[in-house]
């Protein structure tokens, strides 16, 4: 009896040990699986997000937060540039381009559990189109005067009608994060993969996984994989680079070319050059009639021949090679070749030819006297180029252009100004002669640049707010832009905008200099990262990223 009890006791002990060991092994495997599947992603934004209200987003930092937290009806796949269903299973745009009907997914909830339905879409559109809102997202939909009507057909179907055709209507909804009509948490209740967990002003924004996110992967596993994303606010690129090298950051979304090269030399697997981005850098002359600059200078700047000569005298290859370390391409025109559909492939970058430039100027009455270029009235060709201080690339481009133009006898003064002073000169006092600035494109569709190309628009930088077009070519651009905006035929729109690009290259109101490459860096701890050219370059697929623990 005692022997049996002893035997049973030993068996029990062995079974207990085996059970504990099994649990420990399983736990370790599970832990490793969890560690591989989740993790915290860390990267920086360059400035404080101004708002967490997705409808009021105006700056890049806020746009990044919106991208990660906002649920949208359709999503532009940043890699393929195709439009894909998101909260909407399907959609249809009417022939006249004024109406769009969405069929929504069912069974979806906001992050706080409030159910999602067509009523939320109607509510969001109503908020977005409020005339008092004045947001870039809402203004992008304003094609004409009149109200926007939303009709809830069923809990999963809604149609939205605009007063006038909106070109590229469906793609605009990529920027519209849906708000909850009924949630007490207002814009804090989200439909995106992550939700705001903590915000330390000036320091960090912490996003956590949205447990109610609607999407799953192909294996049926709930997305996102990441547990959280920590977004640090760090304006200084040197510090960002230091922290990345130290392993404190996992991504650098927009890497400077000199840092790209340094990092590539030691750790090539960390950096990625996705090729030309949508962004461009350009120089333009002040053509505003009431600008407080001498009349003879206005006459130079308003001459297409002068502008073209300047364009020919600039060595764009050197700008790309020296300022951007080869991570840029000479620009051919208003759109980058990265915009595959809309770029006019017939256009080629202006070749560097100072001799041709000088001949062109001489045909306009300019002449070289003791190495200095003078116009037909004997005025020495001297002008200033202003650009924003703090941008090393623009300052360097300005100095290289200064040197290029010196070779044809033109004396250029380079002045760097703080941004508000520069904007004031550019948009209000018009007290400038030439400017170097860049255009950051988030849209592929040229309709997003209506306010640049229309002569009456605020952002028609070289001569804004014209009551009537002052030149025939600007009148032609106005006609073509309006034509493409009111058409739903993609082929006709493309033809119209191709012609706009050709006119811009002929007349050179903007002297397009280069298209920067999209440079980024990602730590090897990040799995699934695939850098692209559309913003956000590195975390466009954040819901499928994982970060392995160190």
């Amino acid at each position: 009896m005692k022997h049996d009890e002893k035997m049973r006791g030993e068996m029990k002990k062995k079974r207990t040990i085996a059970l504990v060991l099994t649990i420990l092994c399983l736990g370790s495997l599970l832990g490793r699986a969890l560690a591989q599947g989740g993790g915290e992603l860390r990267f920086c934004v360059r400035m404080e997000p101004k708002t967490f209200d997705p409808l009021k987003v105006e700056d890049e930092a806020s746009a990044s937060i919106r991208y990660l937290t906002g649920g949208v009806l359709v999503r532009v796949n940043r890699q393929t540039q195709d439009l894909e269903p998101a909260l909407a299973q399907s959609w249809k745009v009417s022939k006249d381009g004024r109406q769009i009907t969405f069929r929504l997914r069912s069974g979806i909830s906001f992050s706080d559990g409030t159910p999602f339905s067509a009523g939320d879409v109607a509510y969001t559109i109503q908020q977005l189109m409020d005339p008092a809102l004045h947001s870039p997202t809402g203004d992008a939909f304003r094609s004409g005067t009149g109200n926007v009507e939303s009709k809830v057909i069923s809990p999963t179907q809604i149609s939205i009608t605009f007063p006038a055709p909106v070109a590229g209507l469906d793609r605009l909804f990529d920027q519209v994060a849906i708000l909850s009509e009924r949630s007490p948490r207002k814009e804090a209740a989200v439909l995106g993969p992550f939700m705001l967990a903590d915000y330390k002003p000036g320091a960090t924004v912490l996003l956590k996984r949205n447990p109610n996110y609607w999407k799953s992967d192909e294996q049926g596993r709930k997305l996102p994989y990441l547990d959280s994303i920590r977004v640090d606010i760090q304006p200084n690129r040197d510090v960002e680079m230091l922290r990345f090298k130290r392993g404190e950051l996992d991504l650098i979304n927009s890497l400077d070319s000199e840092y790209f090269d340094k990092l590539e030399a030691t750790s090539p697997q960390l950096v990625h050059d996705a090729g030309p981005s949508l962004d461009s850098e350009q120089l333009w002359f002040n053509q505003v009639a009431k600008a407080p600059i001498p009349v003879y200078k206005k006459n130079w700047f308003r001459s297409a021949n002068f502008r073209k000569a300047i364009s020919e005298a600039i060595n764009r290859e050197d700008l790309s090679r020296i300022v951007f370390h080869g991570h840029a391409q000479p620009a051919a025109g208003p759109f980058s070749p990265a915009n595959r559909f809309w770029f006019n492939s017939k256009l080629k970058p202006q070749a560097y030819s100072p001799d041709t430039a000088l001949k062109a100027l001489q045909s306009d009455g300019f002449r070289l006297e003791n190495g200095a270029l003078k116009d037909k009235d004997g005025n020495a060709v001297v002008f200033s180029i202003i650009t924003n201080a703090g941008s090393k690339t623009r300052e360097r481009m300005a100095v290289l252009i200064q040197d290029d133009l010196q070779k044809i006898g033109i004396h250029v003064n380079v002045v760097t100004l703080d941004f508000p002073s520069l904007i004031e000169r550019m948009t209000q006092s018009f007290d400038y002669e030439a400017i170097i600035l860049g255009l950051t494109n988030v849209d592929l569709d040229p309709n997003g640049e209506m306010n640049v190309w229309l002569s009456s628009a605020e952002n028609h930088q070289w001569n804004p707010q014209q009551k009537t077009p002052e030149t025939s070519w600007e009148a032609e651009i106005d006609r073509l832009m309006r034509a493409q905006a009111s058409s739903t035929d993609l082929k006709r729109r493309k033809e119209a905008f191709d012609r706009v690009q050709e006119i811009v290259v002929e007349e050179q109101p903007f002297i397009f200099l280069i298209n920067k490459n999209a440079l980024s860096a990602a730590s090897t701890a990040v799995h699934g990262a695939a850098s692209v050219i559309l913003s956000p370059q590195t975390f466009w697929n954040a819901e499928r990223l994982t970060v392995s623990t160190k």
């Binding site: 101004k50 105006e58 004045h134 992008a140 002003p201 510090v239 508000p420 002073s421 952002n459």
Partner: protein, 288 residues
Amino acid sequence: MLKSRITGHALALVATILLGGFLSATLVRLAPGFDAEEQELDPHLSAESVQALRATRQQDHNVWRFYFSYMNRAAHGDFGTSLALAQPVRTLLRDRAPLTLRLLALGLGLAWVAALSFALTAAWLRISAYDALTTMVSGTFLCIPAAVLALFSVLWNVPGSLAIALIVFPHIYRYARNLLAKSYSLPHIITARAKGLGEARILFWHVVPAVAPQLLAVAGVSVSMAVGAAIPVEALCGLPGVGQLAWQAAMARDLPLLVNITILVTLVTLLANSGSDVIGLMVRGQKS
């Protein structure tokens, strides 16, 4: 008598602070770029939206009206809303001030300890090689841009207060060193040495008290120096303090925030300098 003097001083302090706020508002308002908003350049914005953006600045065009309205609201505890960050100024300052105060206190403490150690040792030893060495060390830090010192602190993972200390220490050292050296030529010091008093006793009992009022004045201005140093250090080290806020506000021409920060800085400067004046008077009173 004493009560009326204190009241007079307090009123003068308040008047100076208010004047500082008004002058700051005037400077910001008159500087170019006040009406400019970076968002204007967004091509998606309609003409009406651009006008609406500009209109938000119009209400602050008249400096007098702005400042009067600001003082009226401030009397009720409302210090306005930041234009750049769209948050109440009171909340912004309340959240960020403790970090800046800690940074300043630590930075100033380190700076003074280092500066006085070097200066007193140099005064005591009076060896030209040591003097040259300390001059070289302090001169080197004086010549390094504040931004570079801030970046060094990030690189070597040291607190931002060390960067502030390194920026301020050369100033304090130089004043202290010169003042101590000069006071060695005072008649009573020469007499004390002639009478055979020990160097340590001479230094701490006769030299230092002779320059105490001036050193206290240096202490007062060192607070202003540290406040100025905090701006690049916080901005570059990513420290969410008042210095970082001041830089953001300056670049955005954020009038409500700038006025409040100026008033805060004026208050700190006045308190520090007034404090050093009062203690200096007491010390001078004790000596005579």
